[in-house]
Amino acid sequence: MAKKIKSKLHRKEAYEGYLCIAPWIIGFLFLTLGPVIFSFIMSLCKWDMIKPAQFIGFGNYHTIITDDDRFRQSLKVTAIYAGCAVPIGMICSLALAILLNLNVKGMRVFRSIFYIPAILPGAAVSMVWMMVLRPQNSGIFNAMLAQLAHLFHYSFAPIPWLTTPEWVLRSFIMMSLWGVGGGMIIYLAGLQSVPTQLYEAAEIDGADGWQKFRTVTLPMISPTLFFNLVMGIIGSFQVFTSSFIMTQGGPANASLFYVLYLYQKAFQYLQMGYACALAWILFAVILTLTLIVFKSSKAWVYYEAELKR
């Protein structure tokens, strides 16, 4: 009898549980799982959403890999961007977090100043940077650099930030550094969670600033480093708004980010099947990189819990 009541309760709870998560389940089926399957099938077709789709097997993938210069270029641009912006960004945000963690007065003000750029709308940010990075000395960056060079008696040629292939990617990397505040906050929290006894123990052992950093701080925040690395890679592979608004991929496709190329194929040329194939390749690349980071994490990420075994 007790068992019957218990199972009845269990069923009621299960029923209620499913009801609770029902919104997500419906959303998952119609907005995630269904589209994923649909997307894969479409990547095997030639489709423009107007005429019916034509099945072409792996034709899209074949073209992408063998006969598409812009694909290779976009992958290169995005990879270089990720490879540069992520490490430099991590170093900058960690450095800022360390500085802020030194119990400076006005820490909140500094924290706000550095964090706010990370939460501003991409469209507005792009407009502002387009103004700031104007070639010739009418752009404020060039003007400032010119003044600085003047101080040191250097002659300064204005940097063509967004108008030459060499500098355009560097400009985007620099723009990404404007938003290091996001990572900084995470590192700050990580730093604050390092138990002070460890630092004291290290000092007793005669460690100085750098050694404390290497032997105590770094290992203790390695999970945070790991998280930021993964998030940084995923995020940098999905840059779109700034490149769409500022350069549309130019000059000479030097800022043709992968997602911008995907957008162009999908919504400017209506080659939807091709774009779906591009999306799947993007997924494969991100997944591979993430797995590599995950696998390597065993070597350098240190979880406190593991030690307590």
Partner: protein, 332 residues
């Protein structure tokens, strides 16, 4: 003392090396070669990293008490430059926007730019649209995510943990994979050029917020639930009257992040909205880049106004921003 001098020497040497990397192009062309822009950028980045080493040595060499302040102030100034320049330009007269050398203080100072900017394009309508989309989405997210997270955190049902892992897995999926089929689904439903594709999905939960809220639910002690159950509360009542008030900070975080995501969204409105009357602020800014020439002073004024709500939100709810980032980062 010797150590400091040594470090200084190292810093200078490394800096010289970095400069080599910065200007790799000219070095190579002296040797008769040519570098592709790609390799050039990589070398430039390596140069930047090497420069960091040099800076670190330099700083350690000259370290003193006020050093953190000096660095932070320098960093703040650099970080504030774009922002301040935007504000300055928004008050300038059109002829003074691009002077060489630039005009630092707007003379004449035109408050009217803001009014003019809003007349050039119907920004009032755009604001209304953006507010509408954002408000509905926020409401939908809070409602659905709190409910779903409650289910995952408190309810027991077969497959719960496996489904949760599926939820986590969806966070790894890049949005671009589903973007096109979802567009087709909404197009077939006739929802193109309406706000629905931007607001309705919010009512079905978002993996990140569900995860965040579930973690938070787990920190609420079960005693409260059990006490309420003994008092005869139904599950719905436990959710709405017992737990929901308890997770208010996390809900605030979800509200803020949802606001941010919707207010800043560009790609969504770009592909789903067509009529000029339906544009959001982000699209409005983009449309401001005129036909033949852009009025930069008005554009900066409009940009400043678009940024304003986020600034206000940040100053009011600073701790919720930080909290949200921390929960996702440190515990993720």
């Amino acid at each position: 003392m010797i150590r400091r001098l040594l470090l200084l020497a190292v810093a200078l040497a490394v800096a010289a090396l970095a400069v080599l990397f910065f200007d790799a192009n000219s070095v190579v062309s002296h040797l008769g070669g040519k570098l592709s822009p790609a390799i050039d950028t990589i070398l430039f980045a390596i140069g930047v990293l090497i420069m960091f080493v040099s800076i670190a040595c330099f700083l350690t060499a000259i370290w003193c008490k006020p050093m953190p302040y000096i660095l932070l102030i320098l960093g703040s100034i650099v970080s504030l430059v774009p922002f301040l320049w935007m504000l300055g330009t928004s008050f300038k007269d059109a002829a003074n926007v691009f002077l060489d050398p630039p005009q630092v203080w707007p003379k004449p100072w035109l408050w009217s730019n803001y009014q003019q900017a809003f007349q050039k394009l119907p920004f009032a309508i755009y604001t209304l649209n953006t507010v509408q989309i954002t408000a509905i989405s926020m409401f939908g997210q809070i409602l659905s995510c709190s409910l779903v997270a409650f289910g995952f955190a408190r309810m027991r049902f077969p497959g719960r943990d496996k489904l949760f892992i599926v939820l986590l897995a969806t966070m790894m999926l890049p949005a671009q994979v589903t973007m096109i089929p979802v567009f087709k689904i909404f197009a077939t439903l006739g929802w193109y050029d309406t706000f629905k594709p931007l607001t309705v999905p919010a009512f079905f939960g978002s993996a990140f917020f569900i995860f965040l809220l579930r973690q938070y639910y787990m920190t609420v002690p079960h005693e409260m639930d059990e006490a309420a159950r003994i008092d005869g509360a139904s599950t719905w009542q436990i959710y709405s009257q017992v737990l929901l008030p308890q997770i208010k900070p996390a809900l605030a975080t979800v509200a803020i992040f949802s606001f941010m995501a919707n207010w800043n969204d560009f790609l969504g409105p770009l592909i789903y909205l067509d009529s000029p009357a339906k544009r959001t602020l982000a699209l409005g800014l983009y449309a401001f880049q005129g036909q033949y020439s852009t009025d930069w002073n008005y554009l900066m004024a409009a940009s400043a106004v678009v940024m304003l709500p986020l600034l206000i939100l940040f100053f009011i709810g600073q701790k919720y921003f930080i909290q949200g980032v921390v929960i996702s980062g440190v515990k993720g």
